[in-house]
């Protein structure tokens, strides 16, 4: 071969250097002191403190919003540490010990992110028909009780490089909570954007956080709240529902982003109104819809499965549990009812934390809440919080750390 490359002046030494790579490495290692091996890294500690396996809270205070049928639970870290910092608009997943089960529920945080430094977060729970966990909390929770919760989760937050500087929030019922947190964050100088909230309530008396918003609006002109009363006509309030015209009335001429949070019926209504505004998708953001309560009405659902009860085999580690699974409810509900501690967070099919594998059996995944990854859809992976059994099933669920 014509090629003749030498790095050092004498090629032979180069060869020796190659042959000795291993010995030279040994020399470096042997010359070093035998040091106790440690693995303690600030970056990892940061990650752990902001994304702990779970946070143990005690209920520090309960604020009763009687006329709105709601209560705010102020949760404080049981260990006295600061709570994981969160972004206004995020939710927390609470693990509720109901009967022999641990049931998870996502609740938007209603307090200022600033509270995290005092170890506190607040969630506001409103009674709703058939709201099994909400009613349980409203009835049972008392000051001093312990509650397990997640860190702040979700992406229903303002992002200055994506959203318009003017956010028009469309809120209904307890869907106001993330916007209260955002309003506090603006007041506290944590977030910087203009927030106009169109807040639908039945009547003046049923308005949640009226006083809190009045106080915030008194100290910052970046937050404005427009109450829209469906069942009452009153001076100083809008009447009716949140329509495209109403949004335009308060939008002004600047570009705006729309953020939507509320009960399912409200989503269905305002979505149609928002379409009329012909906004680019980028300017419309919506909090999770939640898994459907009437799966049999979903397009493509095989009607014969409705009301059936199937046998569900759940594997977790080397444990195996067999239980009933009602076709009308998400598979996750059956797993929880069987007393299995399985992971779940958003309960809306979106976050993927409950991601599990189907070993055998058929499931139905409603398209509008199918938040699975592309490859998971091609495989046997499901999000049990928004998947429904169509036959006897065997699934593998991940572990849970709390």
């Amino acid at each position: 071969m014509a090629l003749n490359i030498k790095v050092g002046p004498i090629g032979l030494l180069d060869m020796l250097k190659f042959a000795n790579l291993d010995k030279d490495r040994d020399k470096v290692i042997n010359a070093a002191p035998a040091k106790e091996i440690t693995a303690n890294f600030p970056i990892n500690n940061f990650a752990k403190s902001q994304h702990p396996d779970y946070q143990k809270f005690v209920i520090d205070e309960i604020i009763d919003h009687t006329s709105a049928g709601a209560k705010t639970f102020v949760l404080k870290r049981a260990d006295g540490k600061t709570a994981s910092y969160f972004r206004a608009g995020q939710y927390i997943s609470l693990k509720l010990p109901i009967g022999d089960s641990v049931v998870s529920r996502p609740y938007s945080i209603s307090s200022s992110p600033k509270w995290a430094f005092e170890g506190k977060v607040a969630v506001t729970v409103k009674t709703n028909p058939g709201g099994f966990a909400a009613d349980w909390m409203l009835t049972n929770f008392k000051v001093g009780d312990e509650v397990i919760g997640s860190e702040g989760l979700g992406n229903f937050c303002y992002e200055s490089y994506r959203d318009a500087n003017h956010v028009i929030a469309l809120a209904g019922g307890s869907g106001i909570t993330p916007f209260l947190s955002m309003a506090y964050a603006i007041r506290d100088g944590i977030e910087d954007f203009k927030l106009t909230i169109l807040f639908g309530s039945r009547n003046e008396e049923a308005i949640l956080f009226k006083k809190e918003f009045d106080e915030i609006c008194a100290v910052t002109d970046k937050v404005k709240v427009v109450h829209v009363l469906s069942n009452e006509e009153k001076e100083g309030y809008e009447h009716g529902f949140i329509t495209a015209e109403l949004i335009q009335k308060y939008a002004g001429n600047e570009p705006y982003s729309i953020f939507i949070c509320g009960p399912e019926a409200m989503y269905r209504f305002v979505q149609k109104e928002v379409v009329k505004l012909q906004l680019d998708k980028k300017y419309v953001r919506q909090e999770f819809l939640g898994a459907t309560k009437t799966v049999w009405e979903q397009p493509g659902y095989p009607k014969e499965a409705k009301d059936k009860v199937f046998k569900l085999t759940v594997k977790q580690g080397d444990k195996e549990i067999v239980c009933d699974c009602n076709a009308n409810e998400p598979i996750l509900v059956a797993v929880e009812r069987a007393g299995i501690k399985a992971p779940s967070r958003c309960r809306a099919g979106e976050c993927g934390w409950c991601r599990s594998r189907v070993i055998s059996g058929e499931v139905f995944v409603p398209e509008e809440t199918d938040g699975r990854r592309w490859a998971d859809k091609q495989s046997s992976e499901i999000h049990p919080c928004a998947s429904f059994a169509l036959s006897d099933l065997t699934i593998v669920v991940p572990g849970e750390y709390f």
Binding site: M1, L3, N4, I5, K6, V7, D14, M15, L16, F18, A19, N20, L21, D22, D24, R25, V28, A32, P33, A34, K35, E36, I37, T38, A39, N40, F41, I43, N44, F46, A47, K48, Q50, T82, S84, Y85, R87, P113, F117, N155, S160, Y161, D280, K281, K282, Q316, G317, D318, P343, E350, G352, R355, R373, W374, A375, Q378, S379, P398, G399, Y401
Partner: protein
Amino acid sequence: MAKFDIVIVGAGNAGISAAVTCAAQGKKTLLIDQHNLPGGCASSFIRGRFEFDPSVHEIADYGPENNKGSVRLMMERNGINVDWITVPECYRCISTYSDGTPMDVTMPCGREAFIDAMEKYVPGSRKSVTDFFDLMLEVNAAQEYMMDGTPNDSKYMQKHFPNVLRTCGYNTLKVLKAMKMPEKAIEIMSVYWPYLGMPLDQINFFHYINMMNVYVERQAVIPHHTSHQISMAFMNRFYELGGEAWFNCRAEEFLFDGDKVCGVRTSLGIVECDQVLANINPDIIYAKMMPKELVPEREKKLFAARNQNYSTKFAMVYMALNKPIEEIGIKDYCIFFQGSADSRREYENMKKLDNDYNILISYNTLIPDFSPEGTSVISFTKLFSKSDEWSKIKPEDYYKVKDRMIAKCIDDVKRRLGIDLTPYIEEVEVATPMTFARYLGTPEGTPYGYELPEWDSMLARMMDINKNFPIKGLRHIGAASFRGDGYSSTWLNGDVCAQLACKDLEEGGTN
């Protein structure tokens, strides 16, 4: 109690690859991971109507039908099928040469095209760059000879691979200079250096030329549907072969029978086993997951010698744009933006949070349906070398730092390509070293392993593989193992270690 032949801890690239190899050899295999997904970095996440790839740039060593690389051979052997897309060009790099003149080069794949392009950018470089590619052939042959599992005969090597023996003991910069490669050509040649995490004056020449071979000659590939598609291809094959996987399952401690590992205590219970493949940084194992008195002295010295120089940290910015990539005006799949083409200077600058280094990946240039019609997805990779700037960030400032990363990326594209992305951003997400630390659990969140300085090169680590595994019944796999980091290296490392563990099992021996 659960009992398996082999337990693999950590379902990252090395773990899933090892898992398939073990199961394919009929071993009762358990794969566990502390997260709820396989793949580690090779994953995906969803924001709005978009699915993002957290980490992939270009996958090396797959290769075309007529020049199959190690990754392809391993995947074919193990029955892993992915619809790959070939990356047609090596890279575009926009930078400044160390003499202060601006650089904007696009380097094609294939030896002749690469040499021609280099001659166009740096007249007079043809001879040395041709020599480089000739040497590459010798390196390939030597590598094949050295890795075929038979003992190496030094006489044979001296006769057949003299140039390899004379160059591969040195760092890359030294060899390229000895080859009389013009400085500008060296700087163009060095664009890939961050993939190995070390500047040219440290990274071993054998390692570097090997990387150039797999990128330039074999061409890179990317998966059609994010890295999660690859990880699921491994997982589905693993399940098909009878393997079992437990997710959200943390290994807490390795259990010993005398001085040999005999099991793992996990958050889902104790698992007995004969062999462990640990896809965990060894320092974490030694510090937290086994009895201190069983930690070998040499490992303590190695720890001291390495001085906790974990390799590159990443911050990623992911953007979904509400316009097709052609309308945005980005044409290249992969563009490197550098502050300086001098890798040493750039490495030093990477200690700073606000450094100028950035890699722009534009998926839709190669995969039109990567995102919904009328949209496109891009990602930015910012790299950081060892410093404590990330360590000092407070929780309340964390999101501001994330926004700073976004601002920097927008500014880079504006400055370097003259394109303003701001009107098009439909989704944006940022992953920092903290994010990687959260999902990977690696030291300082590095997706890589230990740095690869001259004395601790891949080649030096590989000359006596068993020295890397001083704990009986346990082999370190993954980015911190002997082969170094990156998708391909870790898949291959997992596969090799799995084969060694299977062999131990069959022969009743231990490493």
